[in-house]
Amino acid sequence: MSICNKNGAAVLALACAFALALSAQETALDPSSSVKIDLPADAPLNLISTTMGDSRATSRGGAIVLDLHMGLTLRNSGARHIRGVTLLITAQEFAPGGKGSVARPSIDVPPGENFTLPIDIRLVRPVRETAGPLVRVQLDGVLFDDLSFFGPNKLNSQRALTFWEVEAERDRAYFKQALQARGEKGLQQEILASIAKQADRPQLDVSLSRNGRAVGSAVPSTDHVAQFAFLNLPGAPVQPLEGWAAISGNEARSPQIEIVNKSGKPVRYVEIGWLVKDKQGREYVAGSVPGSESTMVLPSGQHTRLQQDTALRFSRSGRPVEIDGMTAYVSQVEFADGRVWVPSRRDLDSSPLLRVTAPSPEEQRLADIYAKKGLGALVLELGRY
């Protein structure tokens, strides 16, 4: 290569580096202008401080990448213990209409105490001038230890926080009973069994989109309709009768499940756990089929159909997982009076299939305490409340 060519290559490399530097400019975000945090004036939470950490805005080509790493320190300004909080996250001008939430269940925050909630968001959007904050954080709900609730509840946070709290009470009672009945050794055996179950639990990668076809529309010829098999839990107030979904390879669409309320009370929400089996016979949790958001009230003895117009695609380690069978069971029921039902520990142990279900947030937290701090810390934690 001649000297002239070498010089030319060097100049070209410098120009490329300069262009790259120009195309990936980073700027620190101003917390006051980038994020707006809205807490109602009468909320039982006060915002004490906000940290932005290493939040950055990076311009890359025709897009802006916003990395927000916030920490919100909140104080319980109410009179009761807080058991859970949900914040609603919305990004300005996010075209697809996506929104998120950050929830902190399984907590016990006495009045006057602070706690910190992390909010980590990455937002990619086209470059354009916008006015106002990029991200808005709002309170969606606070659940107290008596299961009372405060908040606008736009995301149905009351129901979700209540289910998590009832599951937490169930699992805390289970481990406390193991401690009382069999001592620390018995507790240790139970928590080790839980950790092993969590480690062995196979998980699928799922992507989800709106179906694009109306519920009940004709199924394409490439699909087939697969019926659900049901696990009937003895204590469930609702019984699934029949159900099906359109299956095409690793995709399942438009699940529909017919249920009957066999309890003596009206029901306003039901959620069905959904397991799928691959060609090798392995079972996975696919997700859940909830009832619609409409104000459903299902009287005792009446039937209704749960149906959702979405498409779920399953894969594992980047490879599609073809669906060979489906099983469903009742995982959550909310009665019209606000009380909720969740499967008991005995229900969950009644079938080997249910070993693949996820532990409750509380069981996950207790297992983490044992793994990181040992049996003594777990015993202390169970004794707190």
Partner: protein
């Protein structure tokens, strides 16, 4: 009566008509005085010409000139034939080439269309403008196109549990290593 052509009468007068032609002409002459007179005139003329003296010519020079003219004519003819042969345009190779080119271009575009179809079949959720929710290595992401995405990231923790609701939301649950508390990030399709 039909009279024979004058050429035939001249040939008969010179003794150069064919045998059958001569038989037919003789038979006609027996009955036609006019034609007999014509033939007689031709014979007299022939006799007169035979009595003329040939001109004083150098036959060798004349033969050389004739051969030179013939050669020149042949060469000129060859030149005249060669020029149109070079200029003549044969359309068949061009048509074949155009056909091949059309096949190649058509195949290229058909392949491109098929490729796009394959890509859209394999990754429709990532490419379409329809919002798609999915787990990524860093959190739960909703994406629409290439420059529109919102991801709730797992903060200082590895997500150990994923929840998917067919209603249109995906959540990840992780234990925060700073506080030991469980945080659940959910992203929703609207």
């Amino acid at each position: 009566m039909n009279h024979p052509r004058e050429n035939d009468l001249a040939l008969l007068a010179g003794g150069e008509a064919g045998r059958i032609r001569r038989f037919l002409l003789d038979r006609h002459l027996r009955e036609c005085a006019d034609c007999r007179e014509t033939v007689a005139e031709y014979r007299e003329l022939r006799a007169d010409v035979a009595e003329l003296e040939p001109p004083d010519l150098n036959w060798s020079v004349l033969a050389a000139d004739i051969r030179a003219n013939i050669r020149l004519g042949l060469e000129a003819g060859a030149c005249v034939r060669a020029t149109p042969a070079l200029k003549r345009w044969n359309a068949r190779p061009a048509i074949a080439l155009a056909g091949l080119l059309l096949l190649f271009v058509g195949g290229f575009f058909m392949r491109d269309v098929r490729l796009r179809q394959l890509i859209s079949e394999q990754t429709p959720m990532a490419e379409e403008a329809t919002p798609v929710l999915q787990m990524t290595g860093s959190g739960v992401e909703i994406r629409s196109g290439t420059n529109n995405s919102l991801t709730l990231l797992n903060h200082h923790g590895t997500a150990t549990n994923q929840t998917v609701s067919a209603r249109g939301d995906i959540g990840t649950r992780y234990v925060d290593s700073d506080t030991g508390s469980v945080t659940i990030n959910n992203v929703y399709l609207q």
